[in-house]
């Protein structure tokens, strides 16, 4: 048996599901092949931070575009996935860190990202619950958070409705280019298409390798925990320079805390939090917001993302194989980007070009000299 389409997508995280949706909207015949359930890896397990500030300039055009899509999710896919523009407050705990926040202002301005600097009394007045460690902060009013468990399934459902074929529990075991077509083997079936999208997350490295493009990707397993619900008082998503702790509260009261790394085996795939790292994150969270000192943690988890040495994703055409497009290795911050990645991949696949600048994200940067 075989099945053919205009575009085949490998991997149904945020990147793959949004690509399926944009392609289906444009009328392309799309087949998305997902090893587990859509959103069962990084896109479903992440912290839920929808943050633009602090991103590398190379990523900001994608992030800005994503922000516009996040805002329109209800009209696009019928649900907001609990996206809330609560703002993101990035804290400096000493002068050197504060200097880093100031240094970023130019980058932000160049990309039209609004930021507000707060210091000393002004910071404390606005956020009286902050601990003594914070000396300065930059506030990004257009950032916030969303529920990661909902995004990929919601995108996939909308894509299906628009005509995409989304096959779950279907692992791709081999693929190659043959007589101008891609042949993709999954679950004993051979699928073929003119275009192939590699949105396989950490495993995107494997897919790229099938086409002779080895990249130095490693797996990345942030350690996550969540507390019991308490009175809602922390509105912005909180981060720190250096990123060793971050936390956000949802209106129902639970506080989600990240910081440090668990462990994982992408071959299974499985990941798990590290109890010692969990305790350290609790300590850092309580230092950031002392009122957290008497709440309880009720659950912890981790997930697997692919991280590149320069902590930037690979987005753009393959350097070896025409018709193959990559978008993987989001290095621990691809949840926010997901919706825009699909839009960009769709344009590259159908029009051969996109308005969104992707400079610095090409796979070419890893080609051996």
């Amino acid at each position: 048996m075989s099945d053919s389409a205009d575009v085949i997508i490998i991997g149904g995280g945020g990147a793959g599901c949004s690509a399926a949706l944009y392609l289906a909207w444009r009328g392309a015949r799309v087949i998305l092949l997902e090893r587990g359930l859509v959103g069962s890896q990084a896109s479903g397990a992440n912290y839920g931070g929808v943050r633009q500030q602090g991103r590398h300039a190379a990523e900001l055009p994608l992030a800005r575009r994503a922000h516009g899509i996040w805002r329109r999710l209800p009209e696009l896919i019928g649900t907001d996935c609990e996206f809330a523009e609560t703002g993101h407050l990035k804290l400096a705990r000493n002068e050197a860190e504060a200097a880093e926040l100031y240094a970023y202002l130019d980058t932000a301005r160049a990309h039209g990202l609004p930021l507000e600097m707060l210091e000393g009394a002004a910071l404390r007045e606005r956020y009286p619950w902050l601990g003594a460690d914070a000396v300065a902060a930059s506030f990004a009013p257009q950032d916030g958070s969303a529920n990661p468990r909902l995004l990929s399934p919601a995108l996939a459902r909308a894509a299906r409705q628009a005509g995409a074929t989304i096959l779950e529990q279907t692992a791709v075991t081999a693929c190659r280019r043959e007589a101008g077509h891609f042949v993709v083997e999954a679950g004993g079936i051979r699928y073929s298409a003119d275009r192939l999208l590699n949105t396989a997350g950490f495993w995107g490295g494997q897919v790229a390798a099938w086409f002779g493009e080895t990249v130095p990707i490693r797996h990345h397993t942030p350690n996550m925990l969540v507390t019991e619900p308490v009175r809602y008082f922390i509105r912005p998503n909180l981060g720190v320079v250096g990123g060793n702790v971050y936390l956000r509260q949802i209106p129902r009261g639970n506080i989600i805390i990240g910081g440090g790394y668990g462990s994982g085996d992408p071959a299974v795939p499985m990941s798990r939090p590290d109890p010692v790292v969990t305790l350290r994150a609790m300590q850092r969270a309580a230092a950031l917001v002392p009122q957290l000192a008497d709440v309880s943690v009720i659950r912890s988890w981790s997930g697997i993302d692919g991280i590149m040495p320069d902590r930037l994703p690979v987005v753009g055409p393959s350097a070896t194989t025409p018709g193959l497009l990559h978008a993987f290795g989001f290095s621990g911050h691809g949840f926010q980007l997901g919706p825009a990645v699909g839009a960009v991949l769709c344009e590259l696949a159908l029009d051969g070009r996109t308005e969104t600048a992707l400079d610095g994200l090409s796979i070419q940067r890893f080609a051996r000299a």
Binding site: L37, G44, I77, G78, T79, R149, L150, P153, A154, A156, R157, R160, T227, E228, R272, P273, D274, P275, V276, T278, L279, R280, M282, Q283, A285, A286, L292, A293, D294, V295, S296, V297, I298, R299, S300, W301
Partner: protein
Amino acid sequence: MKVAVVGAGPAGVRAVEQLVRAGLRPLWLDEAPDGGGRIYQRPPAGFRRGAAALYGLEAKRAQALHAALDAAKPAAEWRPDTLVWDVTWAEKRLHLLHQGRAEAVEVDAAILCTGAMDRVVPLPGWTRPGVTTLGGAQIALKAQGCAIGPKVVFLGSGPLLWLVAYQYMKAGANVAAVLDTTGFRRKLGALAGAPHDPVTLAKGLYYVARLRAAGVRVAEGVTPLAIEGEQPDAISALRWRDAAGREHSTACDAVGLGWGVRPELQLADLAGVPIGFDTVQHNWVPQRDALGRTPVPGLYVAGDGAGIGGAVVAEMAGACAAQAVLDDAGLPADQKLVNRLQRRLRRQARFRAALERAFPFPISLAATMPDETILCRCEAVTAGELRAAAAPEGPHGAAPEVNRAKAFTRIGMGRCQGRVCGAAAAEVLAAQLGTDAAGIGRLRGQAPVKPLPMPAWQGESA
């Protein structure tokens, strides 16, 4: 060689006893302030009710176990009031919480004797104060010497229903009714002709007879409808339907409910032990051999945490698991003891199967609960919301299995992590998806096993 035994109930006590006999000094952990487990839980120091009053027909067994417990404590590294909140078995490390402080220990082997917990079927009103599980009601009586309310209805099915009702009556509490959701015929049919444990059966009949003789209202084959109250935070009656279809309302101010028990297997799960569905007991159970060895080297399970068998079985299983630890470590094991216990355990397993057929988990009662019933009380998720998550029309499509349903609805994401509502939620979801409890999969275990207070980190850096 350092062996940890987690739990000091019947299985844990007998496991430690055997390890000590072999000259080891096991690390012995229990989250409770003292040993005895749930069934033989001791009252706090200073309480003066005797064993006969506390444990009734079980007094002899309780006293024997307590004697073994107290004898083993000085020979072990006994650490009560210590919760094992996570296991990282790649490093053979147990993560402990004692008096709000965290600490990690490394061991060579561990026997998990983590016991069981009540299975409940939520019904409208079950989140009102005054509703307790049967096990909780029993512990209130045993450990605290108090009843869950002045006028109590007991509802559910299984031997514990009758035992707890009897114990309440004997202690002088006002038992308004005992309502068994299993019909008399079903029980008789399952027990007649099947191999059963004459002692257990005789005890059960004795409890029923005594309750009836005392004029307690007893009904079988009932369908519970709702726990009602005039005030939002109190109970005034339980509404139910009898086997003939007539509706009743029994005035009460507390309800104890439960439908058998399920293994507490989170630690085994976190340690990577494969978990399978046991269709006889209708529970997820860790994979193990007859002696309690799991496929994870160095990790053993015994007692109800390894699959429900009750206290008598747990004692034998604990001893067997300890012998397996010794044998696997190349230390001399008591093969004669193992052979004798294994024979008795095999017989008990047949009794158990008959008991499970007599008191099956009420699948259809759970599956048909009204949409408005709060199913997950930690996260206030209704049965209707769970059903909606299984429907393709939702904004996120259909959840094909239980962890995806959890992701969509937050069912099982709260403080108890689905330990309370999980069994019933499985039936609701399975019915909606046209499969069974095994078919929808199992809620993944996640650390911490019980809520971990923030200041716990201070133990780590100390």
